[in-house]
Amino acid sequence: MPEISHRDRDRCCVAGIGVALLLSLGDVRPAGALDAPASTRIARAARPIALDLAAALAAYKTYVVGQADAFVRETARFVAAIQGGRVAEARGLYAPARAPYERIEPLAALFPDLIKRLDVRSDEFELRERDPAFVGFHRLEFALFALGTTEGMGEFAERLAAETVILRDRMTAVAIPPAKAVGAASALIEGIASTKISGEEERYSRTDLWDFQANIEGSKVVFVLLRPLLDDHAFVARVERSYKRIEDLLARYRAPDGGFQSYDNLTARDRNALKGPITLLAEDLSTLRGRLNID
């Protein structure tokens, strides 16, 4: 039965894929994995998925810690530029520093106190930017892109760097609940749909597309790891199509330097074009936990 062997290959790949993913921070499409035939259909009750699931979750944990680690490194570069008063350089390092965080954002949400110091937005405060609790990435974004300065930012930057280390340490120590890991696939998409597509997240820097890309990558890592456990071919194909459509749309807005254009360049119609596959993906991924029998 060739299908069985494909399936077995998919399974064997799970751990390997995880490692492959860890090695490629930017492109999460593991060679061959997307092109591999979908797993065969077998009765759900008879499916011994527990071990596969455990392997997938272990691989995901490695991925998450890897991203948390990259987050520490990238943020350190960003912080160094701020502390050196190099505005242009700091601006350029802002979005890349956030990318690892945006890939694992729903897991960071395991630590609500921390994300309120790392990633809080000014619109969460009645006083907006004047609120003393407005700290972290967006406080620095505000200074760099809206005010055009690094002045007075040294302390904010230093605190941010320290928070990233705390996040990595906690992420390394924590046992990620399976529902949280699987739910991260949809949570990242829900984040885009609810507040990011509007351009609320990166309102000063207009680097929203960097976040989208990282969110999609982080979501797809979860899906790719779990894909061998899914026996609904039509579902798998539809989800893959949605990811592909979003990736293709985002690719249109790549800048020559490998980054992304300003979100301001997108018309209402351009944003609508993203809304379609994002909403479809959000609906589909909302069934992922149920399909895997994870409460």
Binding site: N272, A273, E283
Partner: protein, 414 residues
């Protein structure tokens, strides 16, 4: 069935002319506790027919207008979208049990009406905007001939975020919850195909609604609005003024449909409330209390403009006189109005954001709304109103039978 629950219902009662239902109603009236049956929650409006419901249907108390952008990118995606809409709206209109959900999956139904969806007088009327006929779907040649983007009239301050749309659904029912339930059902059923663009909710006083048109609703200016409306119960009047027919020069698919105008008209109520009564009445052309045309005594008296050529009773610039001058020739410009009141937040200036959710239907948009609105241009009322949103749409012809779908004629036309 009813008689089983009322053991004292005898043959004599029935012979005495009381139907079982009427009797049950009287029995219930004694404790005055409304039930699902008496509260109108089981009232059903037909979904199938030559025209969509919700146009000549008597207005229930709650309305919800939502304009959508169609996200589908290919012509081939429109048919499934219309099929899904037809299927969902047919179910929601009829009501019924919601499917059971596996506890590990998100529920198919929002649940805000409970495990059984009540029909609750719901109508859901689907119309299309001019933008649906742009380059995307190859429908340009099927565009109804008067359908374009809503133009800006001289007193308008249109907010692009509250204007136009590829598709509009008008939900009307007894309660806001029923409309919201239907909207959420549609959104859940059309991921990747539709994105809400703007939305506005309207209301009418339920006690007036219950009189089925015998009483006239007052708008946020305190005046009766809609007194001289067309009689929606007269099929000949509707065929002349509301429904697109064979002889309107429209594409064949459009026959049975109707042009729909939606205008979100803010009324500057604080200023209005600081305007002398006599001036208010002169601006509108009616007595505020009775609704009668000025110098007449009953709401439904017909103003005699021939006897008042200089506007001594009803000013030549009065709203009712400009809207319907009752001159030879202007009878072609009559429209079926179906408006609601709305009220939402506070404006940037700290005033109340409320007004009229003006809706009208007509067979000929140019002869109807556009002509009437051009006549109204410069009226005294303009100081107190500011149209801020809405659009021109075309309400699709009805879904004849359960095997048909909304817009199938349109999609087959090109």
């Amino acid at each position: 069935m009813t008689d089983l629950s009322f053991p004292n219902l005898t043959r004599r009662h029935l012979l005495g002319g009381l139907g079982a239902t009427a009797f049950a109603g009287r029995a219930h009236a004694e404790d005055e506790t409304p039930t699902a049956a008496t509260a109108g929650t089981l009232a059903v409006q037909p979904f199938h027919g030559p025209h969509q419901a919700g146009i000549i249907t008597p207005q229930p108390a709650a309305a919800l207008y939502v304009a959508f952008d169609v996200l589908a990118e290919r012509r081939a995606d429109l048919a499934p979208l219309m099929r899904t809409l037809t299927e969902r709206l047919a179910f929601l209109t009829r009501g019924g049990a919601v499917p059971e959900t596996h506890p590990q999956l998100p529920p198919r139904d929002s649940g805000i009406l409970g495990p059984t969806v009540l029909s609750d007088n719901l109508t859901a009327t689907v119309s299309v905007g001019a933008s649906l006929f742009d380059y995307r779907f190859g429908l340009a040649r099927a565009r109804p001939r008067h359908l374009g983007p809503m133009e800006r009239f001289s007193n308008d301050a249109l907010d692009p975020a509250q204007c136009h749309g590829d598709l509009l659904i008008q939900f009307c029912s007894n309660t806001a919850e029923t409309n919201i339930h239907a909207l959420r059902d549609v959104i859940k059923a059309t991921p990747g195909l539709l994105a809400p663009r703007w939305k506005v909710e309207g209301f009418l006083p339920p006690h007036v609604v219950k009189t089925m048109g015998a009483d006239t609703v007052r708008n946020m200016l305190g005046f009766k609005d809609g007194t001289a409306n067309l009689d929606a119960r007269d099929p000949r009047v509707m065929d002349r003024y509301v429904w697109v027919g064979q002889n309107h020069g429209e594409p064949a698919w459009a026959v049975g449909g109707s042009y729909q105008v939606v205008r979100i008209i803010r009324t500057l109520v604080e200023r209005w409330d600081r305007t002398p009564l006599g001036e208010q009445e002169a601006i509108i052309g009616r007595h505020k209390g009775s609704g009668a045309p000025l110098r007449q005594s009953h709401e439904r008296d017909t103003p005699d403009y021939a006897a008042d050529p200089n506007g001594e009773a009803v000013s030549l610039a009065a709203h009712i006189r400009l809207a319907n001058p009752r001159l030879p020739g202007t009878e072609d410009n009559l429209i079926l109005r179906r408006s609601y009141n709305y009220s939402r937040g506070i404006t940037a200036a700290g005033q109340l954001d409320m007004g009229l959710l003006f809706v009208c239907y007509q067979a000929d948009l140019t002869a109807g709304f556009i002509t009437v609105q051009n006549r109204l241009s410069g009226e005294g009322l303009e100081e107190y109103i500011r149209p801020i949103g809405g659009g021109y749409f075309f309400a699709l012809p009805g879904v004849a039978d359960p095997e048909n779908t909304l817009g199938e004629g349109l999609l087959a036309a090109t």
